[in-house]
Amino acid sequence: MRDARAVSPLGWMRVNLFSTPLNSALTLVILAALAWLVPKAGGWLVWDAVWGPKPASACDAVRGEGACWAVVWNKIRFMLFGVYPFEEQWRAAVAAVVLTALLVVSALRFFWRKRLIAIWVVGIALAFWLMGGGLGLTPVPAERWGGLSVTLILAIFGIGFAFPLGVLLALGRRSRLPVIRAVSVLYIEIVRGVPLITVLFMASIMFALFMPEGLRIEQLLRAQVAIILFIAAYLAEAVRGGLQAVPRGQYEAAEALGLSYWRTMGFIVLPQALKISIPPIVNIFISVFKDTSLVVIIGIYDFAYAVKKSVETDISWKKYFIEAFLFSIVVYWIYCFAMSRYSQWLEREFARGERR
């Protein structure tokens, strides 16, 4: 019998680490591996590493024994802002903060009402104005945008604009009208069945052929549209799950009350369905945030590309690209881990009502 509430440390170890011979063996192996790995990794990562704004020569001196985190200090502006004009970089920084704040605000339950849509619209417009300029700020063309703000823009604008389309597709898939259902199903299944990279290729190469002669669309806008169309299909499936989970009684009661289809959906069904679908929607957002890194392949300056380019073009820092990549990995991890923790907390919150 396992008593998990053993109070003394020794007792705890006996129960949790050494309960069976197999467990004891495993524990010893793991401890041995850790004992070997931690000093080595710790040395390379932390103690022998070069921190702070030191020159490349300091890093060359400890090459092989210590990581060169100085590359982050030296290249941080390029990594965060790409080729954005130097004097205006504060605008990109503020835009990134605004977008992150948008995420944080959406997470707070207090804002889960109609005003959230207004907040998103304002946030998106503000970010767009800060990055692009006009109306008092010097204009900056979209091909100079780069770095962390582009990653945030691609992900947040992506899910923001994909949301209405996704909801419409989910409703369309459940519609009784055969044509509407067929079109929705076709769209969802085709878009979900292909990798994002082919959608991005299609956007960067074929969109221009789809447009009439002379109409030129920014690379960034093309990638954004591709991401929006891609997310909409996955969102549609998540919302569809929510729609299925709303009890039939709700639909029937609304019908009994004489509400039209759109009133039923708008006032009764969608609020409940969306609440149920929030965990999968958050997961979709986490995947989208990670997948924005793919725009590297079509040459758009997002955060991952800016990090890659920051070390590639400078001969003295070129060999420290692993440290630069690790830095970008840490940044992505912070965002995604925060979001996934939030999603787990959300699921627990929702389950609380159902737990008996």
Partner: protein, 337 residues
């Protein structure tokens, strides 16, 4: 809910509007935009590479400036769009760039099937191989069984295959699209040989940690005439680009340099020079640009010889076949009259 949705969509449409621009044929579009969008390399020294201040240097970059001067009168009105070997043609096809000045080899299939057309040869080159001196290889025949770094979607890739096949040798390709990445792979030792145009090899060697460790083999296994490319069907632009190139060559032929162009314009009595510089005749107007187009161009980037010595000179490559026809080279410009 619908009112908010409608408002959101309207706002989105308004935000999107500045990103799409309606325009007519390319020259009009360039004039309306006020800048020439020029596709260049991501960083090939001597051809198109940004320096630490963000200024693009190289013979291809200077050619972009020349064309911009011809159309807009100002060499600084160029938007440089870096492209890699795989995105360059689609960037041109899709209208993202107006002119591709990116050490691109002139071949029949590129003229015929890619929806674009070449406007001339800016630089006659050939494909070569670069190896580490420590490998002991001194000629191309020693390369049997080697691992070769090559960029995909290039004539380099095809020529490499043809060459090894014809010599009954085998090789293992390492195919990487990004120039920086492939240089890195070669320097790190992932492959034994790097192959591209000889000028590209020289440019890459300049970036090596120890330049003397590397040897460019003497063989040139193919003809690589590098030149500017534009979209098919754009006759106006084709004429301007073609004659910009010829103008630069003619300027060198008649001894017009950036230093003396103003003096020559004012004082020269030589009929060809007068026609070139717009003192007589209507060469420029015929193409739809100002008559003093060549004066501005030469003042901005110099003549072909000056462009060459400024950009290619540091790579250590002699004029060779790129010399004027009078000096035994291939550069022969039709007369401007």
């Amino acid at each position: 809910m619908f009112r908010t949705l409608a408002k959101t969509l309207a706002l989105a449409a308004a935000l999107v509007a500045p990103a799409v621009a309606l325009a007519g044929p390319t020259v009009d579009a360039i004039k309306q935009r006020g800048a020439l969008r020029c596709g260049v390399n991501t960083g090939l020294l001597g051809f198109s590479a940004p320096d630490s201040a963000g200024r693009w240097n190289g013979i291809d970059a200077d050619f972009c400036r020349a064309v911009a001067t011809a159309i807009l009168g100002d060499p600084n009105k160029v938007q440089y769009v870096p492209t890699n070997a795989q995105t360059r043609f689609t960037a041109l096809q899709s209208g993202e760039i107006d002119l591709l000045s990116r050490n691109t080899t002139w071949t029949s299939s590129r003229d015929a099937t890619l929806g674009s057309v070449f406007a001339g040869t800016l630089f006659y080159d050939g494909q070569g191989f670069m190896v580490k001196k420590s490998s002991g290889v001194t000629k191309a025949a020693d390369l049997n069984g080697a691992t070769v770094c090559v960029q995909p979607g290039t004539t380099t890739e095809l020529n490499l295959t043809d060459y090894f096949r014809s010599k009954k040798m085998t090789f293992k390709p390492v195919v990487i699209a990004e120039l920086n990445q492939i240089e890195q792979a070669f320097f790190a030792g992932r492959c034994d040989v790097y192959t591209t145009d000889i000028s590209g090899l020289a440019a890459t060697r300049l970036k090596a940690p120890k330049q003397d460790d590397y040897l460019i083999l003497p063989e040139a296994i193919s003809k690589e005439p590098l030149g500017p490319m534009i979209r098919r069907g754009d006759w106006e632009l084709l004429t301007i680009v073609k004659w910009t190139l010829f103008g630069l060559l003619e300027a060198e032929e008649y001894g017009i340099t950036a230093a003396n162009v103003d003096k020559m314009r004012a004082e020269s009595k030589d009929p060809p020079v007068q026609r070139l510089l717009g003192t007589t005749g209507d060469a420029g107007k015929g193409m739809g640009i100002d008559n003093d187009w060549l004066v501005k161009i030469v003042k901005a980037v110099g003549n072909y010889g000056e462009m060459y010595s400024r950009n290619i000179g540091p790579l250590g490559i002699q004029r060779g076949v790129n010399a004027q026809w009078r000096d035994g080279g291939l550069m022969y410009a039709p007369p401007i009259r």
